[in-house]
Structures are given as C-alpha cells and as structure tokens.
C-alpha cells in the first residue's frame, strides 16, 4: 500500500491548484512563441537585432508593405495555397460523403472488400508514392499545375471513415427508403437528403482537410517549381535557404506571421466545432 497520510491521498483542493498551475504552464508553453512572433513582426530589423521586448512595435505596416513588395511572391503564394486547400476541402468532403454513402446505403458484393480495403490503406503515408506521383505528373504534363494537388483529395480514406461513422448514427435507412417512395432518384437522394444531414461532420472534416492541405509542404514542393504557383510552405522553405532574403528580420517574422495567424484566427472562431470534432472522432474511433 502507498504510505500516504490521508487514506484518500492528496486533497482535492491541492490537486486542483496543481492542475491549474500545470495547465497554465503548459498554456504558456503553447502560446509564448506566437506572442514573440507577433511582437517581432511589428518591429524593425534593428529593434529585433537589439534584443527581445515584450512590447509590440509600430512597424507592422512597414514590414507588411516591404514583404508584399519584396522578392517573395507572398500574396500570390497565399492565393495559391488558398485555391489548393479550398479545392481539396470541397472535393474531399463531397466525394468522401459519396463514398461513405455507397458503403452505408447499399448492399453489394464487393462492399465488404471495399470497406476493408479503404481501412487498410488509411494509414499508409502518401510520401511512399511520391516518386510515382512525380512521374505521373510529368507524363500528364501537369507540372506547376494545381490539378494534381486538388483532385487526389477525392480519395481520402480518413475522411471517409469519419463520415461513415457519423452516417451510422445519423442517417437511418428509413429516411432513404422514404425518399425513394417519394420518387426521388438515387443521385438526388444523396444530394438533397443525405448530404445536408451530414453538415456538422462535413464542416469539421472540411476544416481539417483545408488546414492539412494549407500546411502541406512535401507534396506541393514536388511539382510546383515556378515562383508564381508556389504555395506558402514552399516559400517559407525558400526563405530558409535563400541568402539575401533573410535580410530584414522584420519581413521574415511578418512572413511567418502571415502563414500562421490566419489559421489561428479562423481556429479561434471555430474552435468549439474543431475541438468538438476531434473528440467525436476519438469516441467513434
């Protein structure tokens, strides 16, 4: 037995204090970096060089202006990232719902095989097929093109799985039957009955897919080589390796801020849904 003085262990009050202390410490650990990022993105290069300051500066507009007019095509980069991420999110949720619907609503001979197959390949990373991907893209003449980065989102096993689980408890077969009796075609049933019902789950998955695509560095870097099609992560890597661009640290911090804060901002607005979505996925998974 433990040699504790009280048979119930440490009193609740003390435990609560410890918990709060640890949580606050961890929160600082999570947020400190972004605070420094924000502060430094508002200071000039010489201010940054001279040392750390907890107080933000006044150089925000200047840093931003320099960055936008500088050598890195940053606004174009954000646009590119947005197009690819947005397209991926849309295609992913629509077609993953469709795939989940196929497995959920119908009985057919290969159903079990397909379901098992999709689950089996769910965890295999896409990087192992990177080489083949490059060759395919070259052969199709689609280098520097967004299509090979958006279309593959149609086949997303993880999203499929999440949506299928949601369907299991939220899309009763009776509903589908009823629509059929009403004379709806299958395709219309999917679009007008099933899909709208999935809205909460779809919203969560759309966000995850968008963020995942927005942050993706490895895959787009394989096929995007021209400056005007590069995405944000690629530009950041370029910033890291190119000599003369690390010149003005104010600009560097501003660029990093530009890549990070939009996502944080949207996250804070949608945080309830996002964190909730993870928890739901956890229970189901």
């Amino acid at each position: 037995m433990e040699g504790k003085v009280k048979s119930k262990g440490v009193p609740i009050g003390v435990r609560r204090i410890i918990a709060y202390a640890v949580l606050i410490l961890i929160s600082i650990l999570c947020l400190f970096w972004f605070y420094v990022l924000f502060v430094n993105a508002t200071r000039t290069n010489s201010q940054i060089s001279s040392g750390f300051s907890p107080v933000p500066g006044t150089n925000f507009a200047a840093n931003w202006s320099n960055l936008v007019h500088g050598t890195l095509p940053i606004v174009q980069g954000m646009l590119n990232s947005f197009i690819i991420a947005g397209g991926s999110a849309l295609l992913c949720v629509y077609f993953s719902t469709m795939t989940a619907y196929a497995i959920h609503a119908y009985e057919f001979r290969l159903k079990k095989f397909m379901y098992t197959f999709i689950l089996a390949v769910m965890m295999i990373p896409t990087q192992v097929t990177a080489l083949g991907f490059i060759k395919l893209v070259q052969k199709l003449g689609l280098e520097n093109n967004f299509v090979p980065l958006i279309v593959p989102a149609v086949a997303a096993p993880v999203t499929f799985f999440y949506l299928k689980q949601y369907m299991d408890s939220n899309l009763p077969h009776e509903l589908i039957e009823a629509a059929r009796i009403d004379g709806c075609g299958e395709f219309r049933i999917f679009n007008t009955v099933a899909f709208p019902l999935m809205r909460p789950a779809i919203a969560v998955q759309a966000i995850f897919t968008f963020v995942s695509s927005w942050n993706n560095y490895f895959t787009p870097a394989l096929i995007l080589h021209k400056d005007n099609v590069k995405t944000l992560p690629i530009l950041i890597a370029q910033l890291r390796s190119a000599d003369f661009l690390k010149f003005d640290m104010g600009q560097v911090y501003m660029m990093i801020a530009f890549s990070i804060f939009p996502v944080i901002f949207v996250y804070l607005i949608l945080s309830k849904n996002i964190v909730g979505g993870v928890a739901v996925g956890a229970v189901k998974g």
């Binding site: 433990e2 119930k8 262990g9 609560r16 918990a19 709060y20 640890v22 949580l23 929160s27 650990l29 999570c30 970096w33 430094n40 040392g51 750390f52 077609f95 993953s96 795939t99 619907y101 196929a102 119908y106 009985e107 057919f108 089996a120 769910m122 965890m123 295999i124 990373p125 896409t126 990087q127 192992v128 097929t129 080489l131 060759k135 279309v151 593959p152 149609v154 086949a155 059929r180 299958e186 942050n215 560095y217 490895f218 944000l232 992560p233 950041i236 890597a237 890291r240 911090y253 990093i256 890549s259 990070i260 996502v263 944080i264 964190v275 993870v278 928890a279 956890a282 229970v283 998974g285």
Partner: protein, 303 residues
C-alpha cells in the same frame, strides 16, 4: 430490404457512387505505387543535364541503401526524435486527460485550455520551424532572455549541438501533437464505466491508485492505437527538421530523417535510390498499418 428485385436494382448504385474514389485512387495512388516499385529496380539519375539510365540493376539500389546509404542512421535519427517527443506527449496527455475527465476535480475553464493545447496542431509545421529557427538562433529572443535572466552566461548555440537540435525537433512535435492526444485519451477515459471509479472510492483508493490500477489498464487498447499511429506519423517526420536544419540534418546529419533522405534523392532526381527507399518505407508502414487495422478490428469486436 424490400424484395430482391428492387434491392438489386438500387444496389448497383453502390458501385456507381464508389467510382470517383476508385478512379482517383487508382490514378493517384495505385499507379504511382507501381511506378515507384518499378523504378526502384533501375539505376536512374541526372548527371548535370544528362540523364544516366534507366538501366535495370535489380536489387542494387536496395543494397546500396543499406551498405552506403546510412539508412540505419536516418532510421535511428527518426526514431530518436520520435521517442523524445512521444514520451512526454503521452505522459502529459494522460495527465491532462485524467484531469479533464475527472468529475470530482471539476476544473474550470476546460474549454479554454483545450482550445489552447489543440492550437499548435493546426500550425503550419514549416512556418513553426522557421519561427523556432529565428527564435533560437544565437542572437535570437530565447538566448537574449536566458542571458539577461542570468540563466546562461553566453548564448547557447542550439543548432550547433546534436542533442539540442534533436530536442527542439522533438519539442515541436510534442507541442503539435499532445493536444490531439489529450483529447483522444480524454474521450477514452470518459468512456470508462463510472461505477468502477465509485466502487474504488468506496474501497478507499487514492486517485493515483485509481489511475494506475483502473484507468490505465482499461486504456491500454487506445494507448497502443495512439502509439502505433504516432509511430507511423513519426516515420513521416519531415517539415520540422528539414526547415530547422535547411535540409542538412546537421550537425553531422544527426537530425536527418528518412523522409528528408528521400526528399534529397527526389530533389537530385536520383529516382533509382528514391524508389528503393520509398518501397522500404511502404513495406514498414504497411506492416504497421496492418497491426493497427487488426487491432482496431479486435476493438470493434469487443465493444
């Protein structure tokens, strides 16, 4: 289902709705997979502007990987940095998960904390790494603060030492993933029958005892699941060490991961070696995936 005749005519729609997934998967995953495997058996690289190969060389690329290619070193690096991040990750997640799911503790502001700890998961890893590179440089804010606080006498060269670089990578991985793991484990803990906790309390067990004797064993399936999926993710470690060390994995390639190595070959257009490395990775992650798959299957059955 209704009578056979009707059921069959609807069920073909199952196939139809599957077409998009299958077509895209075949084109963008299956065919590239075969191409990759195919390429791994050929010598194929660029010499300046000229291309050498493709010449069939059988398993030579594989042999080279293991003899000259230091693949074991990069595997070791990857594993070290993964473990360095995963152990704190699981420990902290268990702790936080236990606190969040403890009804007696009644922590306030849970939503705030959960929002904060999940935040790093959504951050662009390359931007995060670039940020850390700037923050931890010799003249950067971290060193400035530590020196002014008297903790250090002179700036510490984080990126000139093997273990500090690895630790930074592991730390970033920890930050980016522990929130996700916490929520996962918390959901698992909430799913445990509360009557178990009640009877344990009646028996006079301390919360620590409850945690180690009841919660943990019941969580074991989830923990294994988390560990293996984290491992599969760990094997893919790329963005953070790549940006932090500018692709060099220095000092002395101690932070070079398997995918960084793959990227190097792809970048140098050495498709033979890239292919061989990819196939090996495919096999390893395939086996691990199978384990997860089997495992989840078993969990489904015991529910």
């Amino acid at each position: 289902m209704k009578n056979n005749h009707k059921a069959v005519s609807y069920n073909k729609w199952g196939y139809i709705f599957l077409i998009p997934f299958v077509v895209v998967y075949v084109i963008f995953q299956l065919i590239p997979l075969f191409t990759t495997i195919y390429n791994s058996f050929f010598e194929n690289f660029m010499s300046g502007l000229k291309q050498v190969g493709p010449n069939f060389v059988g398993f030579q690329n594989y042999a080279k990987l293991f003899s000259e290619g230091d693949i074991w070193v990069y595997l070791q690096n990857t594993m070290i940095m993964w473990i360095l991040g995963f152990v704190p990750q699981i420990a902290v997640s268990l702790l936080l998960g236990a606190w969040f799911s403890d009804t007696m503790l009644r922590l306030r502001g849970q939503r705030f904390f959960k929002t904060v700890i999940y935040l790093p998961n959504l951050i662009m890893a390359s931007a995060f790494s670039m940020l850390f590179f700037a923050l931890f440089s010799d003249g950067g804010p971290v060193n400035t603060i530590l020196v002014s606080m008297g903790i250090l006498k002179a700036p510490y060269r984080f990126f000139s030492h093997v273990w500090s670089t690895r630790a930074l990578v592991a730390f970033m991985n920890f930050l980016m993933w522990f929130g996700n793991t916490t929520i996962l484990l918390m959901a698992g803990m909430l799913g445990i029958d509360t009557s178990l906790f009640e009877s344990a309390e009646v028996d006079g067990a301390t919360s620590t005892q409850v945690f180690f004797r009841i919660t943990l064993p019941l969580l074991r399936p989830i923990l294994v699941y988390v560990m293996i999926t984290s491992l599969i993710g760990g094997l893919q470690m790329f963005d953070v060490p790549q940006i932090l060390t500018n692709g060099t994995g220095d000092p002395m390639r101690s932070s070079m991961t398997l995918i960084m190595y793959l990227n190097k070959h792809l970048f140098n257009k050495n498709f033979g070696m890239a292919g061989a490395l990819s196939v090996i990775l495919f096999i390893v992650t395939g086996i691990l995936s199978l384990i997860v798959f089997r495992f989840s299957g078993n969990r489904e059955k015991t529910r």
